[in-house]
């Protein structure tokens, strides 16, 4: 038989000013199982808590009801009180007679008191059905997996490594660096992208805690927080670890048939190549689809010229399986493919280029060594038109969102152009200027005031090729005029979208994504780097478009989250989770279908001797205790600890019974 103590709080006069607290306590004494009931001025104060501890000892109580304020306020306080008194912390229930009674029913003290008595009684009947719950612990594999070697992945890896934990950084290209490595300068400071990125890339390669796997991809994931098991495919590089990065092979390779994706396909790329001069690791790879040797069986020049015999044509793809405790997903973005824009020439007009192509053109390590020339005839440019919101804020292209960085990089590109070629004139077509960020608005103002960039508010309706010029027709909605500009080059501000294959990738982790394919964070405000999958975090543009400072901040945030997991010896898991009675489970998979966290596993299990059944099982470290499975289970085999069917049913019964003995 339960031994229950009921403690009624006055909360100064907050409660007692409306509710007859002594009557509530008196009524409590009449309830079955209640051994003691007292009222006190401030239950949450030290003396108040001590009253509870003393009563537990004197009356040998095993369950407590505190009639006071909202459990959202003080449930934790009283759980700790119970723990100090040597009771299981989950044996306390609170009756909310302040927020839900005295403060809202001050118009009728009699009814307020009766309701307070009822709520207290409901808590008593609930606590009588409470079960001892023990905090659970799960082991943690203290190694982190970071997927994506852009600035987000680099930062996350460095931060986690700095805390002393092992990190594996997986990058699908042959070098880390990501999109930031393609950029020339960065806004709003105009410092050189490579200059600030390269040291971080080198730091990654030199950090003893970081294992760098480039030219590699994650292919399979199982397990859960603390215990992820991940298969990684290391693609054959055809160059082994003896390589010293001298680059002779690349120089001598006669095959330059392919175009460099890194350079926006504006320049050639050898069959053996490093992504860019500052690549980390500085080890070239052979593209077997274009290499003459792999196609025809002849050539082998790279093997001949290599001073360290590092070229190895026999290398095979390798599949490795590793265990991780937490994962940071930083898979980045692609730019919107503007070939869907007929009015800009379906991507077929050579001198209408993407923003990333412009970055490569103006970069001194780019295909033209920093000379901004027209791709069609390599001539220098004079008039350049920039068009913003290409694949952003465009309902018709199903891209209604703002890509956040285009206003800024367009201003930057126009300024850089003027710096390089003072005689050029830039025009920018825009919808709105979105320059929210430290020193951002000032930056755009500089472009307009100091650099003479002409901003036209409106869209371009058509680009015509006219002789060797481009005729750009558009509207300037501020003056209401039709504008025609004869341009040498048109640069589109392509919006940001998820990497191709982002949806398929998210399925590896059962992460959810929005309609565009950006990964969903757990909560848009209060859990922006967590995902619905415990132990999997997101950083950078795979979650939504953002600039470099936000990306870096987000990456560091994920690192903090990962370190917080790793800092514990074992992982503590709230015990208020679901559990399956497998004897009554019918194996219909309804719970498995509805669980938002993939915390249900279906198993063929011997539930009775000699009887193997298809049944559900809750992954305790994954379950977050929402109870959707309980609401959905018609076999009534799943239950939720702390909010069990028995507890709620008893509350329902008590709530509908009239008050007795009052």
């Amino acid at each position: 038989m339960a031994r229950i103590g009921v403690f009624v709080c006055h909360c100064g006069t907050n409660i007692s000013g409306v509710v007859d607290v002594s009557r509530v306590a008196k009524y409590a004494e009449s309830l079955p199982g209640v051994k003691v009931a007292v009222d006190y001025k401030f239950m949450c104060s030290d003396p108040g808590q001590n009253t509870i501890i003393d009563a537990i000892k004197t009356h040998n109580l095993d369950r407590i009801v505190v009639s006071a304020c909202s459990p959202r306020m003080h449930e934790l306080t009283f759980r700790n009180t119970l723990e100090r008194a040597g009771l299981n912390p989950y044996m306390v229930e609170m009756a909310n007679i302040r927020e839900h009674v005295s403060w809202v029913h001050s118009d009728n003290k009699e009814l307020a008191t009766e309701k307070a008595m009822k709520l207290m009684e409901m808590s008593v009947s609930k606590v009588r059905r409470s079960e001892v719950l023990t905090k659970m612990f799960a082991p943690i594999e203290k190694r982190a997996l970071v997927i994506g070697g852009g600035i987000a992945g680099i930062q996350a890896a460095l931060d986690i490594a700095a805390a002393g934990y092992k990190v594996v950084l997986v990058e699908k290209e042959s070098s880390i660096g990501g999109r930031m490595a393609q950029l020339d300068k960065t806004f709003p400071t105009l410092d050189c992208s490579a200059c600030i990125l390269t040291p971080k890339m080198v730091a990654v390669s030199q950090d003893k805690n970081i294992t760098l796997l480039t030219y590699a991809e994650v292919t399979e994931v199982s397990g859960f927080i603390g215990q992820f098991e991940v298969k990684i495919k290391k693609k054959a590089k055809s160059v082994n670890s003896k390589c010293i990065g001298c680059g002779v092979c690349v120089t001598k390779c006669p095959n330059k048939k392919s175009l460099s994706d890194f350079d926006g396909r504006l320049g050639p790329r050898k069959a053996i190549y490093t992504l860019f001069p500052q690549a980390v690791p500085n080890v070239p790879v052979i593209d077997r689809e274009t290499c003459t040797f792999f196609l025809t069986g002849k050539c082998k020049i790279c093997e001949k010229v290599c001073p360290t015999s590092a070229v190895d044509y026999t290398q095979q793809d390798e599949l490795i399986t590793e265990k991780f405790g937490a994962v940071v997903v930083a898979t980045g973005f692609d730019i919107y493919d503007h070939s869907s824009y007929g009015e800009y020439g379906y991507g077929e007009i050579k001198d209408v280029i993407s923003s990333l192509q412009f970055e490569r053109l103006i970069s001194s390590s780019g295909p033209t060594e920093g000379h901004v020339v027209r791709p069609s005839d390599q001539k220098e440019v004079k008039n350049v038109v920039f068009i913003q919101c290409v694949g952003s804020r465009d309902e018709s292209k199903k891209r209604p969102y703002c890509s956040r960085v285009c206003c800024m990089y367009t201003a930057k590109q126009a300024m850089l152009l003027k710096d390089h070629y003072p005689e050029t004139q830039s025009y920018v077509f825009y919808i709105d200027i979105r320059a929210a960020g430290k020193n951002y608005e000032e930056f755009v103002q500089r472009a307009q005031n100091d650099y003479g960039v002409v901003y036209l508010r409106g869209r371009v309706s058509k680009i015509y090729e006219r002789g060797n010029k481009l005729l750009v027709k558009g509207a300037d909605t501020l003056s209401g005029a039709q504008v025609e500009i004869e341009a040498d080059l048109v640069v589109l501000a392509n919006g940001l979208e998820p990497r191709k294959g982002a949806k398929e990738f998210s399925q590896l982790f059962h992460m959810s994504s929005d309609q565009y394919g950006f990964y969903n964070e757990l909560h848009p405000k209060l859990a922006p780097v967590e995902t619905a999958i415990s132990g999997v975090f997101v950083a950078g543009c795979c979650q939504s478009p953002k600039d470099i400072p936000d990306t870096v901040a987000m990456a560091s945030a994920t690192a903090a989250k990962v370190c917080a997991i790793f800092a514990k010896e074992k992982m503590e898991v709230e015990p208020l989770i679901a559990g399956v009675n497998q004897l009554t489970c019918s194996g219909c998979e309804t719970c498995y279908n509805v669980c938002p966290y993939s915390a249900i596993e279906m198993k063929d299990k011997e539930v009775k001797r000699g009887e193997v059944r298809h049944v559900a099982e809750v992954l305790e470290s994954v379950c977050k205790g929402c109870g959707v499975c309980v609401g959905a289970c018609y076999s009534k085999a799943v239950d939720l600890k702390g909010f069990s069917e028995r507890q709620i049913l008893s509350q329902v019964e008590t709530a509908t019974m009239p008050i007795t003995n009052s």
Binding site: Y341, G342, E343, G345, Y346, S396, K462, Y464, E465, R466
Partner: protein, 290 residues
């Protein structure tokens, strides 16, 4: 045998008679069965759709329902008729309330089973370029043609099925198949100003002039069209435009069915080439086609 309901419309019964004649001729030659809708009524352009949504939908619905009953798709060579038929269909499909009203007005059920296809699509896509090629009697070698699509065939984007709104290629591909050379130009879908043809003629003159000049600059021998309104602007107004912009234009404007007819071996009289203001015969003779 390809069978399709035929909606000629008012232009093809009057100012664009040659379009109607050449269409029927070409289809007969290619063995495409055009079933003229008996008692076809006005498509509604442009008075209906600027005054009443219901009338604009109900007028074409009548013809659409007839075609549906025959189990036929429906075509019209006139871009305006095509546009109205197509838009009415799209509007009715999208708006259940309108559908109900239309059904009440026409007194029949509208199921939307009939597809509205412009004649270019019927010929080039359904009948097929390869099949046309097989029937060619005379290759139109050396003829540079600017294919002009105008607005009604291509806009809004929903009507432009299987082609690119901003740079349509259907007629260009046909021209190539006939042995002529399609000119690469950018004014394929620019506005000819037909909407202002009678009210603010100077706008129509300016816009049509731009198109003709661009065609000429890009080296076109003739402009090929698929719309009676475009034709009247580009052809009938050409002399006054030439005077206005002080440039000699003299660039014949033919319907695509006429060009196709030439390749199938028909002569000037068959195709009513004499009906044009800019006489195409000297050019065609010079190229050895007539």
């Amino acid at each position: 045998m390809l069978k399709v309901a035929y909606f000629p419309g008012c232009s093809l019964s009057s100012t664009a008679k040659e379009y109607d004649i050449s269409t029927r001729l070409v289809c007969e030659d290619l063995e495409i069965d055009l079933v003229e809708i008996p008692d076809w009524i006005c498509c509604g352009a442009t008075t209906a759709h600027i005054t009443s949504e219901l009338t604009a939908a109900a007028l074409p619905a009548k013809s659409l329902v007839w075609a549906e009953k025959q189990g036929l798709n429906i075509t019209s060579p006139c871009s305006a008729c095509f546009s109205r038929l197509k838009m009415a269909h799209l509007h009715i499909e999208k708006d259940p309330k309108l559908k109900k009203e239309v059904e009440e007005v026409i007194g029949e059920k509208y199921n939307g089973k009939t597809e509205v296809m412009h004649l270019t699509r019927i010929l080039i896509e359904q009948y097929g370029i390869e099949n046309i090629k097989a029937k060619i009697k005379k290759e139109l070698k050396g003829l540079k043609i600017a294919c002009y699509y105008g607005c009604l065939m291509t806009r809004p984007a929903e009507v432009c099925v299987n082609d690119r709104v901003e740079n349509p290629m259907l007629m260009d591909n046909l021209v190539k198949a006939l042995g002529a050379e399609p000119v690469k130009w950018y004014y394929k879908t620019e506005c000819c100003g037909a909407g202002f043809s009678l009210t603010k003629t100077e706008i129509a003159r300016k816009l049509s002039g731009d198109i003709l000049k661009e065609a000429k600059d890009c080296g076109a021998d003739l402009v090929m069209v698929a719309c009676p309104l475009c034709h009247s602007n580009l052809d009938a107004r050409q002399p006054e435009i030439a005077k206005l912009i002080k440039t000699e234009l003299n660039i014949p404007v033919l319907y695509f069915t006429q060009v196709l007819g030439l390749a199938l071996g028909y002569n000037s009289m068959d195709l009513m080439l004499n009906k044009h203001f800019i006489n195409p015969k000297p050019l065609l003779k010079a190229k050895g086609i007539l």
